[in-house]
């Protein structure tokens, strides 16, 4: 019979563990300046669902869209958009090579991976993403970078996605991440 004290301790341990997982699952971002250009290192938890892996292995291509917005957040006034950048990664599975290929649609760079876990790890840590030129920014403004990320299955019309209501959605929106663009 589980005593109250034991139950309490187990509960605390469970909550602590789940909290750690939750913290770990959250994304983060940071920016730094290098030769007059601001770069960002981004960590976003990308986990492919079973249905998404099945779709990938069935030949459906997925796009990971990262939309970065630099906003000047002002008190008592509307925020001012400084610039916007969209980075798109195409993920596809080649049945002949049995490998996943991740292509950066902006730069054309490709990476080839044998396992979906590698793909997740590769996309979860994006390093040195060029963001904005220092000359475009005001000295005394307080800038925030807002990142909206989403994973979308390509080659399927919205109707086909709607009518596939009984299974897990192939599209997923990731949690929005914000960080200060420190100068």
């Amino acid at each position: 019979m589980l005593s109250f004290r034991k139950f309490f301790h187990v509960s605390i341990a469970f909550f602590a563990l789940t909290s750690v997982i939750a913290i770990k699952a959250e994304g983060s971002g940071s920016s730094y300046i290098d030769n007059g250009v601001y770069y960002s290192d981004i960590e976003i938890p990308i986990n492919f669902e079973k249905e998404q892996i099945k779709a990938l292995e069935s030949g459906i291509i997925f796009n990971l869209e990262l939309n970065l917005k630099i906003v000047d957040i002002r008190n008592w006034r509307l925020d001012r958009d400084i610039g916007e950048l969209t980075q798109v990664y195409a993920i596809e599975f080649n049945a002949f090579t049995r490998r996943y290929t991740v292509s950066n649609k902006n730069t054309g760079r490709q990476a080839s991976m044998a396992m979906i876990r590698e793909v997740s790890e590769y996309l979860s840590a994006i390093k040195k993403l060029p963001l904005v030129d220092d000359s475009l920014l005001d000295l005394d403004a307080d800038y925030t970078v807002i990142l909206d990320s989403r994973l979308r299955a390509q080659g399927m019309s919205p109707w086909m996605k709607t009518i596939s209501f009984w299974r897990e959605s192939l599209d997923s929106d990731l949690e929005q991440i914000q960080w200060q663009l420190f100068r």
Binding site: R109, M115, Y122, G155, M160
Partner: protein, 580 residues
């Protein structure tokens, strides 16, 4: 009433618009569904449009059905028949549509299930394996060559130069030296642009460390394939990070193309297989919408059709009611469909039957007292024949007037009696030319101012009742003579012509005069009893003629000419057996 008509018109406009809209969108949907791999973007909106059409149709049909049921509950005239007909027609439409729907779905499902045929999948897998096996030897050759190059690189200081030389000597497209942090230390390449972006992952480095080699087959965006080999290189000093040599080898373009083709087919098959269920549901939904729209249209059409079909029967009842109130109720229905014609014929028959009955009763009731009146008048005359002077004159004039008027009444009663007689034809082969000649001869003696003429062949024989045919001629000639009063240069022409209608021989008899003609009002009711334009006419002449023509299974028509009028009669030359 006007509001109801406007509403009905609006409903019809909505229905026609919906039919066109749905037909158009269904056609678009059909073409959109031609590409199951990526169904047209418009498909969602087209389906929504059709679902909206379906909802509007459903409301209209529900309202029509509700009206019909209300009429039925209120025992409105014709509602029961309308309901039965609507149910029958709807049933006729619904049953085949539902059967067709399920058969279509069954066939469609069978067609789609062919996509995921296990044999096809196995065949494609085998093709992929075969392709990979064909490249296994190349991969082993690449591994052997890369390992040799790695051995040659040990202890060499000018590694960049050495790499370029080794690339030229070997079959490799590119040779790269990397450290364990995946930093490129040196590179020697022939085609840098194609392979420079390929960097091993940490996992691959780990694998290369663990197994002393790592190989992979990579695809390029241009559809070609590359063999990638990663082997560790012995470090130059113990403090240095572990180094790795990555080599790229190209695959024969022909083999690459075939491998790409197999992979593309496999991927297309995989996509179709993955989307099989949604495509199937999409088709079923589209088909269901088409069938439901067609069914609703059929049900609405059934209700409308039943309504239109029953309307003349309702008007029959209304006319019958009106006739009870007014026997001379005007026939204003100008509709020309079969049911209306049938109803009109029925109404006419009812009217004629009613008139026959009236005539028979009148003849009976009037005829009975006439003989006692006449005999009494003659007795009075005889009794007072011995009187003299003014008394005798008074008695004689009065009794003569009574006797003469009784004769007039008797004639009228006889005429009614003839009208009421049941058709009993005594047919025989008769020469119409002779009858016409005799009739003209009879009337021309008394009306010398009128110019009589006839146009016919010498011997025109038909089967008919001679007495009744003579009566036709007499009545029509009398009418013509009356119409020619006060006409300058009066003339009457009687003509016959042999004609054929539906391979049956007919005799066409026409009597034409240049008299005053028929008024517009008379033309429509000319054959009804009591219709006459003459001041002293009984209005039975043309009615009797019509009866006789009907008895002979003929047809009669009247028409006004630029001068005067014509009566045209067509009678079959041979009578049907039942009338003989």
């Amino acid at each position: 009433m006007a509001t109801i008509q406007i509403k009905a018109k609006t409903t019809k406009r909505i229905i026609f618009s919906l039919i066109f809209l749905s037909a158009g969108s269904l056609l678009a949907l059909m073409f959109a569904a031609d590409n199951p791999n990526e169904l047209n973007r418009m498909q969602s909106s087209l389906l929504v449009l059709n679902i909206l059409s379906f909802i509007v149709f459903l409301i209209i049909v529900a309202l029509s059905a509700k009206n019909l049921l209300n009429d039925y509950r209120k025992n409105k005239l014709g509602a029961k028949l309308r309901l039965r007909m609507a149910l029958a027609f709807s049933g006729l439409a619904v049953i085949p549509a539902v059967v067709l729907f399920f058969f279509a779905i069954n066939f469609m499902n069978k067609g789609i299930s062919v996509w995921s045929d296990a044999d096809v999948e196995q065949g494609l897998n085998n093709a992929l394996m075969l392709g990979r096996s064909a490249l296994d030897e190349k991969i082993q050759q690449g591994l052997f060559e890369t390992t040799n190059i790695a051995l040659q690189l040990q202890g060499i200081e000018n590694i960049d130069l050495q790499l370029r030389e080794l690339v030229q000597k070997s079959k490799a497209e590119q040779l790269v030296i990397l450290d364990s942090d995946i930093q490129v230390l040196a590179s020697g390449s022939d085609q840098i642009s194609r392979v420079s972006t390929r960097i091993p992952t940490l996992l691959e480095i780990e694998q290369a460390n663990l197994k002393q080699s790592w190989t992979s087959l990579d695809s390029s965006p241009d559809g070609s394939y590359l063999i990638r080999v990663l082997v560790p290189v012995l470090s130059f000093s113990s403090n240095q990070k572990p180094l790795y040599l990555q080599a790229f080898f190209s695959v024969d373009p022909k083999l690459s193309m075939m491998a790409d083709s197999v992979e593309e087919t496999y991927a297309r098959y995989g996509r179709l297989n993955f989307m099989k269920d949604p495509i199937q549901y999409s088709y079923i939904l589209t088909l269901a919408i088409v069938v439901l729209l067609a069914l609703l249209l059929a049900i609405y059409g059934s209700i409308e059709f039943a309504d239109r079909l029953v309307k003349p029967i309702e008007s029959l009842e209304k006319e019958a009611e009106s006739m009870i109130k007014n026997p001379r109720f005007a026939d204003n229905n100008n509709s020309s469909d079969e049911i209306t014609t049938l109803v009109n014929s029925f109404m006419k028959a009812q009217k004629e039957a009613a008139w026959s009955d009236v005539a028979r009763r009148m003849a009976h009731e009037i005829n009975n007292p006439l003989t006692p009146i006449q005999l009494s008048a003659e007795r009075i005359k005889k009794r007072f024949s011995t009187s003299t002077g003014e008394d005798l004159k008074f008695i004689t004039t009065s009794t003569d007037t009574i006797v003469n008027q009784v004769e007039v009444l008797r004639e009228m009663v006889n005429a009614f009696g003839k009208f009421a007689e049941q058709p009993k034809l005594k047919t025989e082969r008769i020469n119409m030319s002779k009858i016409i000649d005799e009739a003209i001869g009879l009337y021309s003696k008394d009306h010398k101012a009128i110019k009589f003429s006839s146009k016919y062949t010498d011997e025109t024989f038909i089967h008919g009742d001679e007495k009744k045919l003579r009566q036709i001629l007499n009545n029509l000639l009398k009418n013509s003579i009356d119409a020619l009063a006060n006409i300058e240069k009066p003339r009457i022409t009687v003509a016959t012509k042999d004609i054929q209608i539906n391979k049956t021989d007919f005799l066409e008899l026409s009597i034409e005069d240049n008299g005053i003609g028929f008024s517009e009002e008379t033309v429509s009711k000319a054959f009804e009893p009591y219709v006459s334009t003459k001041p002293k006419g009984k209005g039975l002449g043309l009615a009797i003629v019509k009866n006789i023509v009907d008895e002979h299974q003929g047809h009669i028509a009247i028409k006004n000419n630029p001068e005067g009028a014509s009566v045209i009669i067509t009678i079959p030359v041979k009578q049907q057996k039942q009338n003989l």
